[in-house]
């Protein structure tokens, strides 16, 4: 099918884009890479009256060093660039590791970082990874700007804290502390499809080899990215032994996640995968953290 009729606007600056959003409010949808929105429009699942195309807003395309030694990433940065950028590889290797799991190369050539976050698909990888990295999101409108921790950005199925006149403009990622390891893993029925379950882990060890900080975030097992708080609490301050990791992953699968069944997998199986993948992600993150320590 083809989309319902809509008005197409192609601003060339952020100010212009924000003005359009302010004017059209709920009738407008920002168009980033279009890899989710356009199919939804073609299926008539979405029928925005106005499309505000951000692809000419050059000021939203960038990856640069943050003052804190972390990263500042423009919301329109293509996923393919995240995959190949040297600064990303150095400062946020978890993102580099995750990118091959995000759809197909053709989609990553067009899809954007900010678009993936703002779309808030519960099976998407980048929301979970951004939370795991402790990212903060800069949101702007004609009314001003505000910073939202990634963890608070997602409120439900395809739903974020963004107001209709607001645009996600930048992702800030803090530098990884010393002795920090990371991992991402997922299981999908077919390469490039949304995963049945995915797990992102970031672990920071203290000098004694205990967990100073742990983040474990899932995709595909709730209405948005699921932060496995109980599992994280179990590990924090503890030595991440094989047994401790096993218990934490088990806790995550039993308590933190609330998967539902669909045509691709039952809720039971997703819960099982959360257990296995949580264990694998934590195990690899810890191994990498230890590797840095030595």
């Amino acid at each position: 099918m083809k989309p319902a009729p809509f008005k197409y606007l192609a601003p060339r600056s952020l100010d212009e884009a924000l003005a359009h959003l302010a004017e059209h409010g709920y009738d407008a949808k920002p168009l980033a890479g279009g890899q989710s929105l356009v199919p939804a429009m073609n299926f008539r699942l979405a029928a925005p009256a106005v499309l505000v195309d951000l692809n000419r807003v050059k000021e939203l395309f960038y990856i640069r060093s943050g003052d804190d030694g972390g990263l500042r990433i423009g919301a329109m940065t293509r996923q393919a660039r995240l995959e190949r950028d040297a600064l990303i590889a150095e400062r946020a290797p978890l993102i580099k590791e995750t990118m091959p799991y995000v759809a197909h190369p053709q989609i990553r050539n067009r899809g954007t970082y900010g678009g993936s976050l703002a779309h808030a698909d519960p099976a998407a990888e980048l929301p979970a990874v951004t939370i795991a990295l402790g990212g903060r999101l800069r949101v702007q409108s004609q009314r001003g700007e505000r910073w939202v921790p990634a963890e608070e950005f997602f409120v439900g199925l395809f739903t974020t804290v963004l107001e209709p006149d607001e645009l996600l403009v930048e992702i800030a990622l803090p530098p990884l502390p010393p002795r920090t390891g990371w991992a991402f893993t997922e299981v999908s029925r077919r390469h490039g499809d949304f995963a049945l379950v995915g797990a992102a882990a970031v672990v920071t060890l203290d000098e004694a080899g205990k967990c100073a900080d742990v983040r474990l975030v899932y995709t595909g097992v709730g209405e948005g990215p699921v932060v496995a708080r109980e599992a994280m609490a179990l590990l924090r301050g503890e030595e991440p032994t094989e047994e401790a990791i096993r218990e934490a992953a088990h806790k995550a699968a039993q308590v933190d996640v609330s998967p539902i069944g669909d045509i691709h997998a039952s809720a039971d199986f997703r819960r099982h995968l959360a257990d296995v993948l949580g264990r694998r992600a934590l195990t690899q993150a810890v191994a990498r953290a230890r590797g840095q320590a030595s």
């Binding site: 029925r189 077919r190 390469h191 045509i263 691709h264 199986f269 296995v276 993948l277 694998r280 195990t283």
Partner: protein, 760 residues
């Protein structure tokens, strides 16, 4: 360069790569109208009343057609049991009932596709829902609601084979294995969904330009439904965009002709076009039959299979389509390419309210061999015997007697295929102990081996267990069970002193397999002219005589026999100075016979193609993920007319069979498909298909084949699933009896209590 045996590029390659090749969806004629179908969208209901008045008045709508407008409201390849349009008002008994979601109820013809689509919603259909027959188990209950009310039961057809004495066979067996197998529906997922254009030409003929597999059969079905003589209908194919059996039955052919004809009668002389969406295609055409089969086989300690008993049921869905023929193939092949003295097969095809089962590459042989080859692998394990050795001791060979008690046609190369497969896969034949498997696969990551690239993008390092398995298969080339097949070809030689131009007329469809290229190669070979002198006139009922269907792996075999002899005749006339010299030949293969209803006794098939496959898999035992990492496919093609096209067929068949075996899970609940789009029905992509497919082409001539060629297109689909199941067993220690091997199914099989041991 010889024409036959050369991997010349396909004649249509350039056109297809550049987008010049016309497909039905690309045809735009002046003043064209657009048509949309109102599908039933419900699995079983009686239509009490249809009111089209609102739709008729909608903007742009030119006509709305219903059952009342169909002169003879029925069609079907083997049995005219399906209404063209469901609803009251036609003479066809039971045409007011919809029996599956894809039954067609009304046609809207409008100035634009969007207007036709919008008007669909304005058709008021008053349905009385009827109880849904959702599965073969439900259908076979004595009190089951009937899918076709005038039939005594939901049984569409049954075959049986009775050979020897099955009880004495089991008594003689030292080992008996039993299992119940289930295989799922499969969607063809060809590149181009159904599409076509129709109009009435200046001679008053109804012209239908579309994509199918047999122009003359389409013409016959259209003529029957429209109550017109066949010469009033012209069917022409342009680019087909893949078929795989999915275009054997009618989809848009009759409704296109009906629309053009009815408009013409109302004085509207405008062409009509239809293009189905992917979702319409998936509910609108048939599927590979889902199967349930119980099997019990016995063998002696020295590896003689002495008894094979199979009870097999195919889900025929709402209408007959080609179910009886598919059932015939499954009946024969469910006991495999073996000479077994005691055979007892009961096979049934059963009506349900699911999407009809029908032709799909392999045509019952994949389901049949899934049973047979699983049983052989399990028997080998139970006997502690090498699976190659067990097969060799029972294999069909030259002079063997088939389960139907007729000799296998001359040219049986099953033993040669098995031997070559075993050798390629590293087996060695010990003079005393027989076939010996190579050492177990080393642990480690085969994907790191540059010689054997894997496409698997693996997650974090989890345990990955490797396994290997093999299976073999045979399948008929050409139509079976007493069907009188024919294939016409005409070869015209133009020129004076030398042959300047050759015109080959042949109706056969090039469904993407390269049939037309192969036809030109065979003509060039006989005539000794360069290929660029050959001009093909094909796939047009107005210009060619019946050449039969592009199915049953028959096209090269049948067309080759016809073209070869027509060309020889033309050459003879050329040498007698006829100008142009026109040779015509109607090839009729040797006769076959139907199954005896009691014993299954028959000479079922003209000839066979033979195949064997070895696979390696990796299984993650924690997530159940199965990756196919290596395939060896040994295929006896008799003579490779174009080796590159054959490799293409092998690689395509392997990917398609991998889909059937592992990724493709067609889900239906109460007659309603849940996977009606390609984002939910997961065909393998290039990332999932094994890159490491070794195609081994054997050329053991078939005495009946042109240049010795035998059909091959379906064969490399057939054994793969059973080989994968054996490899998964080798990797993780469990037999899985049900396809597809989704991660969840594999995981559940691993966690079944007390079923970790196979065999008996």
């Amino acid at each position: 360069m010889r024409a036959v045996g050369s991997s010349i590029p396909r004649l249509d390659a350039w056109q297809k790569v550049t987008g010049e090749a016309p497909f039905p969806g690309d045809i735009y004629l002046p003043d064209m109208l657009h048509m949309k179908v109102l599908f039933a969208g419900r699995p079983h209901a009686r239509i009490r009343h249809i009111d089209v008045s609102r739709a008729e008045q909608a903007p742009g709508v030119v006509a709305v057609l219903t059952a009342r407008d169909v002169p003879v409201n029925e069609y079907g390849l083997i049995l005219p049991d399906q209404p063209v349009l469901c609803g009251p008002g036609s003479a066809k008994e039971g045409a007011d009932v919809v029996r599956f979601v894809g039954d067609q109820v009304a046609l809207v013809i409008a100035e634009s596709e969007a207007q036709a689509e919008a008007a669909l919603a304005l058709i008021d259909v008053d349905y009385e829902d009827l109880p849904v027959v959702a599965s073969v188990e439900e259908a076979l209950r004595p009190d089951a609601p009937r899918v076709h009310a005038h039939r005594e039961s939901n049984l569409l057809h049954a075959y049986r084979i009775r050979r020897g004495d099955i009880e004495r066979g089991f008594e003689a067996a030292d080992v008996i294995v039993e299992a119940t197998f289930r295989t799922g529906f499969q969607e063809h997922a060809y590149l181009q969904p159904e599409a076509g254009v129709s109009y009435v030409d200046e001679d008053g003929r109804i012209v239908v330009i579309t994509a199918g597999q047999w122009v003359h059969e389409d013409r016959q079905q259209i003529a029957h439904a429209l109550a017109l003589p066949e010469d009033r209908i012209v069917v022409r194919y342009v680019g087909i965009g893949g078929a795989f059996g999915g275009r054997e039955d009618m989809s848009v052919q009759i409704i296109l002709a009906l629309a053009a004809w009815r408009l013409h009668q109302r004085g509207i002389r405008r062409p009509v076009k239809i293009v189905w969406s992917r979702e319409e295609s998936i509910i609108g055409h048939h599927k590979r039959h889902a199967m349930v089969a119980r099997a019990r086989w016995g063998a002696t300690r020295d590896g003689r299979v002495v008894a094979a008993q199979v009870d097999l049921v195919l889900d025929a869905g709402a209408y007959a389509y080609t179910s009886t023929k598919v059932l015939g193939n499954a009946t024969l092949t469910c006991v495999g390419p073996y000479e077994i003295p005691n055979v007892w097969v009961d096979a049934r095809a059963v009506y349900t309210n699911n999407i009809p089962g029908g032709a799909f590459r392999g045509f019952g042989a994949p389901q049949g061999h899934f049973v047979a080859e699983n049983m052989m692998n399990r028997l080998a394990e139970a006997l502690g015997m090498d699976p190659v050795e067990l097969r060799e001791r029972n294999i069909l060979r030259e002079g063997s007697i088939l389960p139907t008690q007729a000799p296998v046609p001359p040219g049986c190369s099953m033993p040669e295929v098995l031997t070559r497969l075993a050798e390629e896969a590293g087996w060695r034949r010990d003079p005393e102990k027989g076939w010996q498997a190579p050492p177990p696969l080393p642990p480690g990551d085969p994907c790191q081996d540059p010689e054997r690239p894997c496409t698997s993008l693996e997650a974090t390092p989890g345990p990955r267990l490797r396994g290997r398995g093999l299976a073999i298969a045979y399948k008929n080339v050409g139509f079976s069970f007493g069907f009188v097949d024919e294939c016409h070809a005409t070869v015209e030689l133009h020129g004076d002193a030398a042959i300047e131009r050759v015109v080959v007329r042949h109706a056969g469809a090039d469904v993407g397999q390269g049939a037309h290229t192969v036809m030109a190669q065979m003509a060039a070979e006989v005539l000794g002219v360069p290929l660029d002198k050959i001009e093909l006139v094909v796939s047009d009922t107005a210009k060619t005589e019946n050449s039969g269907s592009a199915s049953a792996s028959r096209m090269t075999f049948m067309a080759g026999n016809a073209i070869q002899r027509a060309a020889q005749e033309a050459l003879r006339l050329w040498h007698e100075e006829e100008r142009p010299a026109v040779g015509h030949f109607r090839y009729i293969p040797r006769p076959t016979t139907p199954y005896d209803p009691e014993t299954g006794r028959s000479d079922p098939n003209i000839t066979y193609g033979y195949v064997g496959q070895y696979v390696e898999v990796e299984v993650d035992p924690e997530t159940g993920h199965v990756a196919l990492t290596r395939v060896i496919s040994v295929n006896d093609v008799g003579k490779a007319i174009n080796p590159q096209l054959i490799e293409g067929q092998i690689e395509g068949a392997v990917s398609q069979a991998f889909g059937w075996a592992v990724t493709e899970d067609f889900r239906v609940v109460e007659g309603r498909p849940l996977t009606d789009r390609l984002s939910t029905y997961l065909i393998p992509t290039i990332w999932d298909s094994p890159l490491n497919i070794q195609s081994v082409i054997l050329e053991i001539p078939d005495p009946q084949g042109p240049f010795g060629a035998r059909g091959m297109a379906e064969m490399p689909f057939i054994p793969l699933a059973a080989a994968i199941v054996a490899a998964v067993r080798d990797a993780i220690g469990v037999w899985i009896d049900e396809l597809p091997l989704t991660p969840e199914r594999v995981w559940r099989a691993l966690h079944r209590p007390a079923e970790r041991e196979g065999g008996t």
